[in-house]
Subunit: 243 residues, 2 copies
């Protein structure tokens, strides 16, 4: 379909696309009032946040990505359950680097809900940065991180984000998506093993590609645009409903 046509089709279909607001049920409100939410991960989570700012619910501390959009929706539509939302994502991180800073950047913050999105660099850097980890390294390191977290905070709720590559992105090479699916499967396997939530980011991006090309959602295939980050927030909020 050429560009002119999909513009037109979308114009006609525009009524079907909408940002879903998400309001806690009274039962969920009871459960989550005054609780701490922590976003952890790599550059997709980091999204240019000001790392000098440590406090919750601050726009610059939350960065410009899905963590910010998620926090904005939660805080606006669930007044005022005193949720505290933190972001401690750091660009370039692989799962072993989360492990290195986990005491300070996770356990010491005493989160009640931990949202993790990690994996794209575990794969990508093995292609381009002489990193020698494999999908087994990723799975084993990730398992240890989850075990450590649950040992320190047995009642914590965890949401594992599906790592994703958006088809056609400029940073991707032939065959990468297929190879990367092993990392996505490892994340899903761990979510089942530890009975955590699982945020299907890849499926959300795959669906979004029906409406607009990769350049609109995630130009390089790894780092979402503004509307791409909103799509991620939608995926997150849908999953949170079951937490």
């Amino acid at each position: 379909m050429n560009r002119r046509n999909w513009l037109k089709n979308i114009a006609l279909a525009s009524g079907t696309i909408s940002l879903q607001s998400f309001t806690l049920t009274p039962e969920m409100a009871e459960r989550w009032t005054g609780k701490r939410v922590l976003f952890q991960g790599d550059s997709i989570t980091d999204a240019g946040r000001d790392r000098e700012l440590s406090e919750p619910n601050h726009p610059r501390a939350l960065g410009g990505g899905y963590a910010f959009h998620t926090a904005a929706n939660l805080l606006r539509t669930n007044i005022p359950f005193e949720l505290e939302v933190f972001n401690r994502g750091i660009s370039g991180n692989k799962v072993f680097q989360l492990q290195e800073r986990w005491q300070e950047d996770c356990l010491d913050l005493e989160p009640d809900l931990l949202s993790i999105l990690i994996g794209v660099n575990d794969f990508w850097h093995s292609k381009s940065h002489e990193y020698e980890g494999t999908v087994e390294t990723y799975e084993n390191d990730y398992r240890r991180l989850l075990e450590r977290t649950l040992e320190a905070r047995p009642s914590i709720a965890i949401m594992i984000g599906e790592p994703f590559l958006v088809e056609g992105g400029t940073a991707l090479q032939e065959g990468w998506e297929e190879e990367f699916s092993a990392y996505r499967e490892a994340a899903l396997k761990l979510a089942r093993e530890f009975n955590t939530g699982f945020v299907p980011y890849q499926s959300y991006f795959d669906k979004a590609l029906v409406d607009a090309p990769v350049s609109y959602w995630c130009p390089d295939g790894v780092h979402p645009s503004i509307p791409g980050a909103v799509v991620m927030a939608e995926a997150w909020l849908e999953t949170f409903k079951f937490m």
Copy 2:
């Protein structure tokens, strides 16, 4: 009402509060496809944006305030009308300071829709910074700015934001809200005079105070929190429907 009670009341009422998504009608899509939106103003608009970044639709270039929330909603729900959204707000600005940088930070950008929010510093700095401007200075400077804009770009659409002070904010002093209403009235008068849109931010904050205290929306009475900035985006999008 004590804190415990309003928490409970809000929990029960939570279904009534929601982020409204906003989708362009086909007619509006036709009108706005490929157009440029420029946010101008002071710290409320600036909201910590990275001033080194000049491109549109970039999270760090849009800051962490209502301009970003508005852009995120527009870009997510109106795919992909190729809107370009810019932010050129600068902290501390009064209307005469917009005038000084108007060529570079407005006219040269060739916006199709200009959203301005200015006025709180014109008042505040006359109280606390030995600034000698009055409400007449504000109105006259603002009028000249609008005349200049329309002369340079006769077909531009303009949205004038109602300057606001949120009752009970920590930076406000006794009697300020009443005195400041003259600035709000001047902004409304200019909106009528030039037949522009008018975004009633003050009314939106006044309504929000029914649901939660000022500390939740705008702690100092001037600078909105994350949920306060989302309320502003809602006000903006409602007004945009009539543009």
